[in-house]
Symmetry: C2
Subunit: 461 residues, 2 copies
């Protein structure tokens, strides 16, 4: 089911388990009242943007927001030892802030129905605040970001999580956002466009295609285990259900203790070098640069395109910007295995050129299959062809619609049973969901794709 | 007392408390048998090194080891908003490895007497293994690094700590080393140049000027609290002694809980931007470039100089290299305060241009006073003029002698009593030693100067 179909179902009884009519009604109304037009515009006609004469980099005339630059990469790891690519450089740290509250012991979250120009369905659910520094310091002279003060000046003791996390390491250069969750009391009301909903219900929505946006997913992944209701009837009491509950709650013994997981990751990071150098966008081997867009000779990977946006939903009602347009749909999957009665996720020590420290823990599979004709990445074939009874989770989700155009990935959780052994290649490691949640208190351990899957996993609880 | 004086005292009874005659004898013997000559050599006459024609960067002809490059920095923080400087670029990850063992319940560490060309006293105590990747992969075709296999292929379960940590963020560009501690059984013997000593005695040696090198200090700081002997008679039972013991062991309540400390640090990181760009070494505004050396117009900060080295102590017996020669002696100090019966250290959220994520937690004071005529850094005046009875620790220590020439800092721990209030400026935070040790399980939280001081603090236990 897509979010558009969902909105059409507000008056029927067929809405998915755990999703209320009240939410459906609110979301459909937001879709109805929010006008938004997105038009493709050639890069060299984007008002306010220009190609720097010296470097060819695409930058905003204010010097703020973000730019598109070139990157040259040399690596001693993987099948391709050297390449060049465009990359989005956004040095400023934005805020992805979620307000939560407890009503009679039930946790609620304050979400926002937000339009982003790159969303394939226009409107998705975003956290309470989703703002770049240029946004919230009002470089573009828009209206004030609602609820911002709760995050820039949180009252002592109310911070649940507060950590800088990376974003797409293949598309962003050292980008990081502040993921912050603040608990408030019942006096904070939902203003226009915002909606208080039970955290459980928000997690249920993760099982609907393209509804919960990336920013919501990453900030949800940072919630500690204490933010699960005690009593959960959702999971049948079969083996994997119990194993998942143990994995999330931290009950049961992990295959590797915390020190071993840290040591595995440090060793993996130390094994190879990734030399990254910023280069002029105008001279990237293998890439074509037309007045309209930038694309790869083989038509692979992604394009840089321009859009013009008009909406009544945002601080600014009209603007123009470049977006990164990925080619084809990607696959992001965790192989999950019951080990000793506890569900373990197979994380991959993954190099990505734009990551601050070159490597973070990614999902078992994370790729666009079209970019890899042969050999295909490890475990890709397995998760693509897993039998239906093995699929724990299977939903199409978008990446950040403020920077990526119609980006869609198929997110999967696959129960490996006995198909995947406990012994795995050196760059993989079995960890529990609770171990990942512990690492998520710190930045730069778990990449954004894996964080999304952690949030999706929580929707199975 | 200096290490040279110490060596002269092997046959007297006046050696410092906690230091054995056996160690003094071994160290003096190592000094005696190790020949080493270091000669200053003009940069443009350093065999194997040359200035790149395009960039002016100083690099090794092999393309390995390290290089001296230029850096341009723009910051929205601090009194100087823009500057350029030379910086050492050493992208490869080295190993700082310490073997430990338990003999009848007493922890021992395996140290090495190691000559480095930049050491002002030639020989200092280094960890079991101290090797760059170029060293241990034998780029220079030297002899094999002893004990290396214990760290590149440690047995599961024997790893005590294993983490990438940064080094001097003002002098290195995104340098990090693998700090790894591995526990072995009694069968591992000390080969030539190595020495098993009680961990307690090694910590005592931290109170001797210029004896325990930076690499040993950083790796010692990563030891968890369980590596302290249970029964310590060293500290008198006065208030600060008890407060320090509680601070290290984790007993007693910290002023700020773990979540608040993380949130304070994330907020501090998010407040400003530091834009760092690599630039040609040949065109650095404010810096002079002669055939002999590179230095600042004002004679401040540091010089880049060359040395030629001959020794019989190392994998390679003769080599040539540039070194960074800091101007004058620096001061590195923690202000310490008894808060609720627990000693707290005043950490500073410190921007440094070469740090991977721009900011780490540094000591309360970290500067070369000569570089700051006016205004002087916060708390500098206080720690310089603290009365003797307030000084908990006061020792001159070297920074890394393989990259820095005769670098010396005065390391201080100063009991603030009531002189410094609990309320401090936003970019400072009171934390316990145990909280820092917890953060040290992860990289890039605590800078190398603060890590040194954590190790020094442990010497007071």
């Amino acid at each position: 089911m897509t979010s558009a179909e969902l909105a059409g179902q507000r008056d029927t009884a067929t809405h998915p388990n755990g999703v209320s009519k009240e939410f459906l009604s609110w979301f459909a109304e937001r879709m109805r009242v929010t006008a938004c037009q997105v038009e493709r515009t050639p890069l060299n006609e984007l008002p306010g943007w220009s190609f720097d004469e010296a470097t060819g980099n695409l930058t905003h005339d204010s010097g703020r927001f973000f730019g598109v630059e070139g990157l040259h990469v040399r690596s001693s790891y993987g099948p391709i030892s050297e390449w060049s690519q465009p990359i989005i450089n956004q040095p400023e740290i934005g805020i992805l802030g979620l307000l939560v509250k407890s009503v009679d012991g039930v946790p609620f979250a304050l979400v926002q129905a937000k339009m982003e120009p790159g969303n394939f369905n226009s409107m998705q659910l975003s956290p309470t605040v989703q703002a770049t520094r240029s946004n919230y310091t009002r470089v573009h002279r828009g209206s004030r970001t609602k609820y911002l003060d709760h995050f820039t000046d949180p009252r002592a003791g109310s911070v649940v999580a507060d950590v800088l996390q990376s974003e797409q390491g293949s598309w962003f250069l050292r980008k990081r956002n502040r993921n912050i969750i603040v608990e408030v009391d019942d006096s904070v009301v939902a203003e226009d466009g915002h909606y208080w909903m039970p955290l459980d219900e928000l997690r249920s929505l993760l099982r609907i295609d393209g509804l919960v946006n990336m920013d919501t997913r990453t900030v949800l992944s940072c919630l500690p285990a204490s933010f699960f209701a005690e009593d959960r009837g959702r999971l049948a009491a079969d083996g994997m259900a119990t194993a998942l509950a143990r994995s999330i709650s931290g009950d049961g013994t992990p295959l590797h203790n915390a020190e071993s997981v840290l040591s595995w990751f440090t060793a993996a990071k130390s094994k190879h070098e990734l030399a990254v150098r910023r280069t002029p966008l105008s001279a990237l081997p293998g890439w074509q640069h037309t007045p309209e867009e930038i694309f790869h000779d083989d038509g692979k990977y992604f394009r840089i395109v321009g859009v013009s946006v008009r909406t009544d939903d945002r601080e600014v009602s009209e603007w123009h910007q470049p977006l990164l347009y990925p080619t084809g749909q990607g696959i992001v999957a965790f192989v999950v295995k019951d080990i000793g009665g506890v569900a373990h996720l197979l994380v991959h020590a993954r190099y990505q050129a734009g990551l601050l420290d070159a490597m973070e823990m990614g999902p078992s599979v994370q790729c666009n299959p079209g970019n890899y004709p042969d050999p295909q990445p490890t475990f890709l074939d397995y998760v693509r062809h897993a039998p239906a009874k093995r699929i724990l989770y299977d939903t199409i989700l978008s990446e950040e619609g403020g920077r990526f155009f119609q980006s869609q990935n198929r997110y999967l959780l696959v129960d490996a049973g006995d198909d995947v052994p406990i012994e795995v290649p050196d760059e993989y490691c079995w960890v529990t969901a609770h171990q990942l949640t512990g690492l998520l208190r710190h930045g730069y351990y778990v990449n954004v794709e894996a964080r999304s899957l952690v949030a999706c996993l929580h929707s199975l609880w």
